[in-house]
């Protein structure tokens, strides 16, 4: 997904002089092409994320559209107050690119796991929060939000992210994408973990359970209208996310169900607590029940 981001930004920057790319000294083998092509609009600010978000605020005040690149934890947390009092408060076109959400930096350990990043971003009114599911959706999301007013947080994968079947790279700001239709229940997923939903649906189908899959890439503003229309057709939904349960997609869906008075039971699949071991992204997902089999089992036991 990060390569999709970088390629798309080059394409946009070639025709829009307002685009500036800042990095907190990260992006080896990802950002070089942009830096070579647009050296005057590329700034490695050093390992100084709070300053990066302040600089971006000042650049946006001068009419630029700065994209701030770092690992999702550093991008979202170190400069949070600078973001809050800067781009959010002044409603400026600052974009934050948080790389490697969830357990993407598995072996690197908890300092590198972004498990609460989009919860804290959702908490800021006026902050658009986008969590693309695959590289094609990342490219589309970056492209289609160029002119969007106000700040945006993108939480994207690190690399090697598979395409989500049926998504075809579609992205609709403030909406959701139905990538599979089934009448018995709905799985709602966000981010790279969305690929597991399809396999989980296959496993459920083996038990005669027909599953819809909804990809929710916009977490703020909440896709309330589309979700409530879709969920009114179901009595059972499960959310899937590589993020703590508090404040993420599961919370968002719970808010929609409660506030719209839907008669729909919700099961939230996500990360309940910090894993007590390190490992690959796949290992850590499995540790938290976030594999296709784990999700299918959670759903089946909730239905039983």
């Amino acid at each position: 997904m990060r390569t999709a981001f970088a390629q798309t930004l080059i394409e946009l920057a070639a025709r829009d002089d307002r685009i500036v790319l800042l990095t907190g000294d990260l992006g080896f083998s990802v950002l070089e092409n942009f830096a070579e092509r647009f050296p005057r609009r590329f700034f490695n600010v050093g390992v100084a994320e709070a300053n990066m978000l302040g600089l971006a605020t000042g650049l946006a005040k001068q009419g630029f559209i700065p994209y701030c690149y770092s690992i999702a934890t550093f991008a979202s947390m170190r400069g949070y107050e600078a973001l809050r009092n800067g781009a959010v408060l002044h409603h400026l076109t600052v974009r934050i690119i948080g790389i490697g959400g969830g357990f993407a930096y598995g072996h690197a350990g908890p300092t590198h796991w972004a498990l609460e990043d989009y919860a804290i971003m959702r908490a800021q009114p006026g902050m658009t929060v986008i969590v693309p599911a695959d590289p094609a959706q990342t490219a589309n999301a970056i492209r289609s939000t160029l002119e969007h007013p106000g700040p945006i947080y993108f939480r994207i994968g690190k690399g090697g992210d598979a395409a989500v079947p049926g998504l075809d790279g579609l992205f609709c700001l403030g909406g959701v994408n139905v990538v599979r239709e089934g009448k018995d229940l709905a799985l709602i997923a966000t981010g790279g973990i969305s690929t597991e939903a399809g396999t989980a649906a296959d496993l459920l189908m083996a038990n005669g359970i027909e599953t819809s899959i909804i990809v929710a890439a916009t977490l703020s503003p909440a896709p309330t209208a589309e979700l409530s229309a879709l969920l009114s057709r179901f009595t059972f939904v499960a959310t899937i996310e590589e993020h703590y349960l508090v404040g993420g997609l599961g919370s968002l869906v719970a808010e929609v169900i409660a506030e719209r008075g839907l008669r729909c039971r919700l099961v939230r699949c996500g990360i309940k607590r910090l894993p007590d071991a390190l490992g690959s992204q796949q290992f850590l997902r499995a540790h938290c029940g976030l594999t296709a089999a784990g999700i299918a089992n959670t759903v089946k036991s909730a239905l039983a």
Binding site: R40, N51, K61, G63, A82, N85
Partner: protein
């Protein structure tokens, strides 16, 4: 004391007394620098001109001195100034960008220099002649992000970025030297690659010289303005109490008398 500086002190004292809101010590320590900036330094301030100089008060708690200067320069009416800290007003005890003429909302120390560096960089990228002046507090130098921004500005030779540090020696719970001693602060800024001047912050000619002829064509400039907390009012000078408390009627009368001399 210049005429403008005297006016600022009088307005600060009267409005603080009316609103029953403190932070007088800082407003009085920056009054002379703010007067010089608005009288002699800032170009096209308060206009919508893209080439205007930007002024950002990083030490937002001293905003009453800024509002007073904006009033003296006819950017705020007397009536607007008198809405300071009134319910429903945009003129609170820290700058709010939604108020006309305020470039940046501040109040959390340590964040403004980064934004100003971004504004200065953006001005240069656009090819405008705009300069960015930012007035920080000495306690603000405790914040690490100040030094992140200082390194960036020097690395990119932002010669259109000018930081003024109001070295009044006080911070919220005591003297800066007793809490986190900043000295030698001039050497710190110099070692970070800035063009540095240390001046008597109440000496208008010295402040003006540093902010005009003292600017560098290559480097960002830091002006350390050595000041006295509560300057101009004998019973406030160097007294931490006046970081917090407003003045009563008798104190106002005495203070106005002292600053009018």
């Amino acid at each position: 004391m210049t005429t403008t500086a005297r006016s600022l002190r009088e307005l600060v004292l009267r409005e603080s007394h009316r609103a029953h809101v403190g932070h007088l010590g800082s407003c009085l320590s920056i009054a002379d620098s703010v007067a010089v900036l608005f009288d002699d330094v800032l170009r096209d301030v308060g206009t919508g001109n893209e080439h205007r100089d930007r002024f950002v008060l990083a030490k937002g708690h001293a905003v009453l001195a800024l509002y007073a200067a904006m009033h003296v320069k006819e950017m705020l009416t007397r009536e607007e100034l008198s809405s300071y800290c009134a319910d429903g007003s945009l003129l609170g005890s820290h700058p709010d960008h939604r108020a006309r003429g305020v470039e940046l909302s501040t109040g959390s120390l340590g964040l403004a220099l980064s934004v100003c560096a971004g504004m200065a960089l953006g001005a240069r990228m656009k090819g405008t002649s705009s300069r960015v002046f930012v007035l920080m507090s000495d306690a603000e130098q405790n914040e690490g992000s100040v030094w992140e921004a200082a390194m960036f500005a020097a690395q990119h030779r932002l010669n259109n970025l000018i930081a003024i540090v109001d070295c009044n020696g006080q911070q919220a719970l005591g003297a800066t030297k007793d809490i986190l001693d900043l000295e030698p602060l001039g050497e710190k800024w110099r070692s970070f690659g800035w063009n540095v001047h240390e001046v008597d912050g109440h000496h208008a000619i010295a402040v003006r010289a540093a902010l005009t002829d003292g600017l560098s064509p290559q480097l960002p400039t830091a002006v350390l303005a050595r000041t006295t907390f509560g300057k101009g009012v004998s019973f406030m000078e160097g007294q931490l109490w006046w970081h917090y408390y407003p003045i009563n009627d008798d104190q106002l009368a005495q203070a106005l008398d002292e600053v009018s001399r």
